[in-house]
C-alpha cells in the first residue's frame, strides 16, 4: 500500500543536522495493523506526519499506492491525503464549537457530500459507535474516551483506506484504551489499514506487526 525508501528528515541546529528520520525504509501492505513503538523523540510522530503527507522529508522516496508522493505538488498530496487517510490524534482535536454530530459531519462537508447522504452516513457511524445519545453534546461535555471515540468516528466517516493514529490512547485510562484498541482491531478485520504510534507494549500488541524506532531509524521488524 505504501512504501518508504531511505527517508531522511533533519532540522538544522547551529550548522549541524539533527536527524529526525534517518535512512528509514518501511513497507506497509493493504490490511495491515502496524504498531510503531519507540521512546519519546524517536521519530514516531514525525514518521506518521510524513506518511500523512502533513510534513515534508528531505531525502528519500515515498510511494502511496504507486503514486510517487515525493514528486507531487503539495496540493495533489493534500488531495490524496483527504481521499485516503483518516488521522486520529492523541489530544482528540475535536472542534470545540461543534457538537458531536457536527464534528463527525465536517469532513463530509469538505468533500461536498450531499445533505441526505451525509445524514445517513453520520447516523450509521453514530449508531455503530453507540454514541447516538451524545450526538448533540459538545466535546467538553464528554469524557476523554468518548471524545476519542468521536475522533475515530470522524476519521472513519470518509471511509479511509488508511488510518493513522498518533498515540490514540495516550490520554486515556487503561479500560478506555482497551476499548479503543478493540475497536481498531475490529476495523482492521473489516479491511482498514491502520498505523498507530504507541508507547505501550500492550496496545502495540493489538497490531499485526510491530516496529521499533530509535533515533529516526527502524530497529527491528
Amino acid at each position: 500500500m505504501l512504501k518508504l525508501n531511505h527517508i531522511y528528515k533533519w532540522v538544522k541546529s547551529g550548522g549541524r543536522r539533527i536527524f529526525l528520520l534517518n535512512d528509514l525504509s518501511l513497507n506497509v501492505e493493504q490490511g495491515e495493523f502496524l504498531s510503531i513503538m519507540g521512546p519519546s523523540g524517536s521519530g514516531k510522530s514525525t514518521l506518521l506526519n510524513v506518511i500523512a503527507m502533513l510534513d515534508d522529508f528531505d531525502e528519500g522516496e515515498y510511494y502511496f499506492e504507486d503514486e510517487a508522493i515525493h514528486n507531487l505538488k503539495s496540493k495533489k498530496r493534500t488531495d490524496i491525503f483527504n481521499q485516503n487517510i483518516g488521522f486520529i490524534f492523541q489530544a482528540y482535536h475535536l472542534l470545540d464549537d461543534l457538537t458531536v454530530y457536527e464534528n463527525i459531519e465536517t469532513p463530509l462537508l469538505y468533500k461536498k457530500v450531499k445533505s441526505s447522504e451525509r445524514k445517513a452516513l453520520v447516523a450509521d457511524i453514530l449508531d455503530r459507535f453507540n454514541i447516538v445519545g451524545k450526538k448533540d453534546l459538545f466535546p467538553h461535555q464528554l469524557s476523554g474516551g468518548q471524545q476519542q471515540l468521536v475522533g475515530i468516528a470522524r476519521a472513519l466517516i470518509i471511509k479511509p483506506k488508511l488510518i493513522l493514529a498518533d498515540e490514540p490512547t495516550g490520554n486515556l485510562n487503561s479500560k478506555q484504551s482497551d476499548e479503543i484498541m478493540q475497536l481498531f482491531k475490529e476495523l482492521n478485520q473489516e479491511g482498514v489499514t491502520i498505523i498507530q504510534a504507541s508507547h505501550s507494549e500492550s496496545n502495540a500488541a493489538y497490531g499485526s506487526r510491530i516496529i521499533n524506532l530509535l533515533d529516526g531509524s527502524v530497529q527491528k521488524s
Binding site: 506526519n49 500523512a52 502533513l54 510534513d55 493534500t78 491525503f81 483527504n82 488521522f87 490524534f89 482535536h93 475535536l94 472542534l95 470545540d96 464549537d97 461543534l98 457536527e102 465536517t106 469532513p107 462537508l109 469538505y110 468533500k111 461536498k112 470522524r154 470518509i158
Partner: protein
Amino acid sequence: MIKNYIKTGWRNITKNKGIFSINIAGLAIGIASCLLIMLYVSDELSYDRFHEKADRIVRVVFRANVNGEEMKEAVVMAPVAQVLKNDLPEVTQSTRLAKSYNNRIEYNGAYYGQSSLAYVDPNFFEVFTLPIIQGAKTEPLDKPNTVVISKSFAENTFGNTDPIGKMLKVTNRDENLLVTGVMEDMPKNSHFHFDLLVSTLGYAQAKKTSWMESDFFTFLVLKKGADIDVVESKLPAISEKYMGPQLKEALGMTFTEFTKENEIGLFLQPLTDIHLHSDFSDSTTLEQGGDIKYVYIFSAVAIFMLVIACINFMNLATASASKRAKEVGIRKVLGSNKKQLIYQFLAESFISTFLAAFLAIILVSMSLPIFNQLAGKDLNFQYLLSPEVILAIFSLILIIGFIAGGYPAFYLSSFNPLSALKSKFSGSGKNSGIRSGLVIFQFVISAGLILSTLVVKEQMNFIQNKELGYEKDQLLVVRNSYLLGNNEDNFIDEIKNNPLVENVTHSAFVPAGESDNEVGGIFKNNEFQRRMSFYNVDENYIPTMGMEVLEGRNFSEDFGAESDKVILNQKAVEILGFKKNPIEKSFQRDTHDGLKTMTIIGVIKNFNFKSLHQEIEPLILKYNPYGGIIIRSKVADMSGLIENLNGRWNAYNVKEGFDYSVLDDSYNHTYLKERKMGTILSLFAILTIIVACLGLFGLVTFTAEQRFKEIGIRKVLGSSASQIVALLSKDFLKLVGISFLIAFPLSYYLMNKWLQDFAYRTEIHWWLYLLAAGITIGIAFLTISIKSYKAASVNPIKSLKTE
C-alpha cells in the same frame, strides 16, 4: 455548506461576545457615520440637478480687477442675456433674475412682510424646471405685473380660495401684481428660493442698456454638446464690443487701453457648480452656499471612519489568530482546503458586517434629527430606503465584509496544519508589525482630526474675540424702521430718551448681516481711481458703533450742511494717497448728475465691515441719514429693551410687527458655515477616537490574555499592579506617540490651507499640538489601563494553575 459556514460563524461570534461587541460597535459607528456623511455629501452634490436642463444651464458671472479693487460678482449687466443669445449660436435660451429686497406684500389688508421676491424674465419657467400646478402652464409671466407664487405662499395668503386672478400689492413700491400661476415650492437643494416670481416686463431696471451696472443673475441654456470653454472664449470679444463704447464715455479710455492694466470680463459657471464652487461677493450671492472643500473633507472623514472600523476588525481577528490556529489545523487535517477556510472566515466577517450595518441604520435613523440640526440640513431618512441606496449599502457591506474579513481569512487559512496544531504559532512577529502599523494609522487619523477640530475652534474663538474696529456687542438693528413712515423720527427720539439705550443712529449700513450697499467710482483730479464702498450714516454712527476717529472730526449738526463731507477709513486714505494731512483734502465721486466733490473731514480706524475672509477694503462714510436704526444698549441683556421697543412700535399702529436683529448674532451667522463644519468635524473626531479606542481595548484584551502567565509570574516575583499596567500600556502608547509624528505635520498642512481662506486668522499655536496630543494619549491610556489594570489585579495563582 453555506448554512454550515453561517452556523460555525455564529457559534464563534457568540463564544467571543466581548470581542464581537467591540467589532460590531466599532463597525456600526463607522458605517453609521459613513451613511450620515453620504447623506450629507449627496445632498450637497444634488444642488440644482433637479432642473431638466441642469447640465446645459450656465450662469454668466463677472470678474474684474480694477485699480486694485477685486470684483467677483454673480450678477451681470441687464443687456447681457439678450446679447449673448443673439450673438452666440451655442446659446439657445437666456433668462434673468433680479432679487428684490424689503418687500411688503399686501393682500386684503393683511401684510406678508419680508416675502422673498424676484423679477424674472417670462421664459424663466422654460429654462428652470419649476412645475406650475395651478394657472397658466406656459408663459405665465408674459404680461407686465404678473406674478407666479409658491404653493406655500398661496396657502398662507389665500387659504382655500383659488389664487389665480387675485391681485397682490407690493406696498413699498406701489405695485399691483396679478397672480397668474402657482408653482411648487422650490426644492431645498436649489441655490435660490423665492415665494414670488414677478415678470420683468413691468420692471424698469430690466430695460436698462448700461454695461456699467450689474443687477441681473443671468442664465444661459447651451446647445446640446456645446463646449462651455469654447463659449466662454467668445465672451471677451462681446465685452469689448458692447462694454467698450460705454467705458470710453465714462472713463475716457478705450477697452484695450483699460484692459492693459486691468482685468475685466464675463465668465461662465455651470449651474451645478453654483452651490459648491462660488466665491462671489456676499452682496451678489442669493443664498449662502456650500463649499466643495467641506464636501472633500467630510468624504475623507467618512472613508477614514470606515477604514478605522475595518482595521479594528482585522486587528482583532489576527490577534485572536492564536486562538483559532488549532481550529484551522484540525479543519485542514479533516480535509478542508484553503478556499473553504477562507469562506468560513469571510462568513463570520459578513455576519458581523450585516449586523453592524443593521445597527448602523438604526443609529442613523435615531441620530439624523440631531445631525440635521448640527449640519443645518433637512436630510431625509426615507432617502436611505430607496432601492439604489439599499443596493449601495448592500454592496458597501460586501466590500467592508471583504476588506475587514479578507486579510484575517487569507492569513489564518494559510497556516500550516502541523504547526497550527502544535500551537507553535503566536500572534507576534511579522503580523504584529502589520497590526502596529494599522494602529498607528488609526491614531494618525484620530489625532489629526482632533488637532484639526482644535484649530477650527481656535479660529472661531479668534473670530469671536477679534478687534473689529467697532464694538459688536449690545447692538440692536431695526432694519425696517422706514415702515413707520412719518413717525420714524419720533420713534428715534423716543429711543434716544430710553434709559436702557446708550446711543442710537439712523443708518441702514451694518457691518455684519444684511446691510444696504453702495459702491461708487472715485475720481481724483477728475481722473478715475477705482470704485469704493460707501456708508450712508448720521452723526451718531461713529459713537454708536464704537468706532475710533483717528484724525479730524465726526459729522456734527454744528457745522450745518454736511452732505459734501466725508470720513474715510485708513485704507481709503492710503489708496487715495492722502497719507499726510488728509483733512480738508478733496476728491470726486461719480453720481447720476456727474462728478461731485467731497471733502475729507475725518479718518476712522479701519474696521471689518466685511467678513474676516476678506481684507479690509477702502470705505467712505458720507452724511446721508436714511434706512434703519442701530441701537446700542446700556445692558447686555437686551430683552427688556426689545420688549419696550416692541410696545412703542405697536403704539404707532404699524400693520407689520416689530422686527429686529442682534448684530452679534448676525456676525456669528456670517461664519455659520465654518461653525457647522467645526461642529460636525468635532463630532466625527470624537467618534473616530472612540472607534480607534474600541480597537485598542480589544488588542489590550488579547495581549493581556496572551501574557496571562507572564503577568502571573511577574506578580509572584513581586511586581506591583501599576508596573504591570505600565508593561502592558507601554507598547501601545508608543504607537500612539509615533502616530503624532505623522498626524501633526499632515494636519498642520491641511489646516493651514483652510486658514488661508481667512484674511484674518489665528496661528496654529504650539499648545494646540500639546492639547491634541494630551487628549489623544489621555483617552488611549484610559482605555488601555482599564483593561490592563484588570489583568494586573488577577490573583497570580489563577494564571499559573492553568498550565
